[in-house]
């Protein structure tokens, strides 16, 4: 790797697992690359990412959501995002699939490929993709804005869904639907990212149970009434996957003369 890289990890509440992992790795020593400095900012609740939250202003991106702007300023002392020498952004946004899978619509609708075994009106793949596109439109626009300013970045996916997510007890959504919608969402966004040449760190197989939910060990220590988040063990696995991605982006920056 060429020189020192500053990685600014920003995004939704799933940044929390990465922060916990980073603290632990730093405390234990030896497991963080010496020339990568990670900094973090929890911008705000994942719900807000499905609404307009930024604007492109000349060579910068400004958060129009006041909480996002305030947190970015507080945590990273930035009032906008711009291309900076030696800086890579890690975005924890775009694969928080719960906004779609937890919706009570799934008590009367069902993805078509589950309709033989589950009650409900089948939903086609294209309609499900249209729903996902609607939900992710501002995040995808954010990726594109980052690319248009040639700001180096990668995406870190949210953890797989939690086996006891309260949408099951609250609304009666079938677990198979949660897993299926989660997969569809990840497939859709992964396709967009791949096509755009954007690196994405996905949860590896080792964290996903046979039922498609996150393995219990990666929820240990997380309160049961928290339906989304993973623990520091999960965060560490994701952080470790980030290192080679940062290295690669750093090399690209160096090659580009930045």
């Amino acid at each position: 790797m060429n020189g020192h890289v500053r990685v600014l990890m920003i995004g939704d509440s799933h940044v929390g697992a990465l922060i916990s992992a980073h603290r632990r790795m730093r405390r234990l020593g030896g497991s963080l690359p010496a020339n990568i400095a990670f900094e973090f900012s929890y911008l705000g609740n994942g719900f807000h990412f499905s609404h307009s939250f930024f604007e492109l202003h000349e060579a910068t991106i400004r958060f129009t959501h006041p909480e996002f702007a305030a947190n970015l300023g507080r945590d990273l002392r930035l009032d906008a995002i711009a291309r900076q020498e030696g800086v890579v952004f890690g975005l924890s946004m775009g694969l928080h699939t719960a906004r779609v899978f937890r919706d009570p619509q799934w008590t009367r609708h069902v993805p078509w490929d589950l309709s033989a075994n589950l009650p409900g009106q089948p939903v086609s793949s294209d309609v499900l993709n249209a729903i996902i596109d609607q939900d992710s439109q501002y995040i995808v626009a954010f990726y594109r804005a980052m690319q248009s300013l040639e700001i180096p970045f990668f995406v870190v996916a949210a953890p797989p869904p939690y086996r006891l997510h309260n949408c099951m007890s609250l609304y009666g959504i079938a677990p198979e639907i949660i897993v299926q919608v989660d997969r569809a969402y990840r497939t859709r966004i992964s396709g967009i990212l791949r096509q755009a040449g954007i690196d994405c760190i996905h949860p590896p197989r080792e964290v996903i149970g046979e039922d498609g939910f996150i393995k219990a060990e990666f929820r240990a220590g997380i309160p049961e009434d928290d339906p989304h988040h993973a623990n520091a063990d999960y965060g560490q696995i994701m952080m470790q996957q980030a290192f080679p991605v940062v290295e690669s982006l750093s090399c690209q920056m160096a090659a580009a003369g930045q």
């Binding site: 779609v100 919706d103 009570p104 619509q105 008590t107 009367r108 609708h109 078509w112 490929d113 309709s115 033989a116 009106q121 089948p122 939903v123 086609s124 793949s125 294209d126 309609v127 249209a130 729903i131 609607q134 939900d135």
Partner: protein
């Protein structure tokens, strides 16, 4: 002795009913045969113009039946694109009586057409609603699963509706030579491949349409004895004809036959006829309500038609717009006002085949 005309009201005479009035002053063109109560579930289907009627019924406070509501997260702007909220089910436009009859038969597994999947590129289209998913389905399995769910919902519509509003659109259709399956569109337009050996053109006559509708009504009443029908004829001319006639002549034939069929069927006391055709297309209206292409009906025309309808079928007083009645789960959002450009009219695809 006075003649029967002596006791007729002014509306019965051309001079006082029409000639002395502006078209906008016409009154009393329609008198309802039965009351639609606020508890009646109203279903609707038919050709493009039927979309206006369904949309206005939804917004008026009547209980409009939607057996295939959209998923709540699908943006409203996408509903029409995927065939949601246009009619009481996701069956798309039903232009002919035979198509309507066969929808019933397919819903109750009385008819399983041989040629039922059309291709466009590598995508699979349901031949009986080829534009319901504009890009088709990704696999045959998906298409069949979606159809199975669709037909189950359609059965519910047939079983639950108290009043069914059907707008007759066309007499012309394309039919499979193998088993008589009738399609909403000519194969090779939205999807599929046209073949003379596979498909034949039909221009249904009066007696055929009467037979189709009589059969439909008889079967429908067998499973839903209280069902009442309200028939209309679309005033929208044909986009294109497959006959050797000029399209204007073909339109006159088609609309005349359908108007006669609706009149004949309305002899039944539980079948009403609402004159949307006359309100828009009669020469007395001087083409006011047609767009410059003399085909599309402008929004003012739809308002005019529905004003006559609601003069007789007064919308439930207290409710205003009411969420469509679905077959389970929380109510869906009410329908937004419909612009004339919002009408999903598959038949217009035929104009893309106009070589001129």
């Amino acid at each position: 002795m006075p003649t029967p005309y002596d006791s007729q009201p002014p509306r019965s005479f051309w001079r006082t009913g029409v000639a002395n009035l502006s078209p906008l002053e016409f009154r009393d063109l329609y008198r309802k045969k039965f009351t639609i109560s606020e508890n009646d579930l109203i279903g609707s289907a038919g050709s493009c113009f039927a979309q206006h009627i369904g949309n206005r019924l939804k917004r008026s406070g009547f209980r409009y039946l939607d057996v295939e509501p959209p998923p709540a997260l699908l943006p409203a702007a996408e509903h029409g694109r995927y065939g949601y909220g246009i009619y009481s089910g996701r069956f798309g436009n039903i232009y002919t009586a035979r198509q309507m009859r066969q929808l019933f038969e397919r819903a109750f597994a009385e008819f399983e057409p041989v040629d039922h999947i059309w291709m466009r590129g590598d995508r699979f289209h349901d031949a009986f609603r080829p534009t319901i998913e504009p890009d088709g389905f990704g696999s045959i399995e998906e298409l069949l699963a979606m159809r199975q769910g669709h037909l189950a919902s359609v059965r519910t519509m047939f079983e639950k509706a108290d009043v069914f509003v059907f707008t007759f659109g066309l007499t012309e259709a394309w039919m499979s030579r193998r088993d008589g399956a009738v399609y909403p569109l000519c194969p090779g337009t939205a999807a599929g491949t046209f073949s003379d050996t596979e498909y034949q053109f039909v221009n249904f006559g009066f007696s055929e349409i009467i037979a189709d509708m009589s059969m439909l009504i008889q079967r429908w009443r067998a499973i839903n004895p209280g069902i009442r029908f309200l028939f209309t004829v679309s005033p929208v001319p044909l986009t294109a004809t497959a006959t050797s006639s000029h399209v204007m002549v073909a339109t006159t034939y088609s609309k005349s036959v359908l108007r006669a069929v609706a009149g004949e069927l309305a002899q039944d006391e539980l079948i009403d006829y609402f004159p949307s055709y006359e309100l828009i297309a009669s020469p007395t209206q001087r083409g006011f309500f047609f767009a410059p292409n003399m085909r599309a009906v402008v929004a003012g025309g739809v308002e005019y038609v529905m004003r006559h309808f609601f003069d007789q079928h007064t919308p439930p007083a207290s409710s205003g717009a009411r969420a469509p009645a679905t077959t389970g789960g929380p109510a869906q959002a009410t329908a937004p006002p419909m612009h004339e450009d919002d009408v999903i009219c598959d038949e217009m695809l035929l104009d893309t085949h106009n070589a001129a």
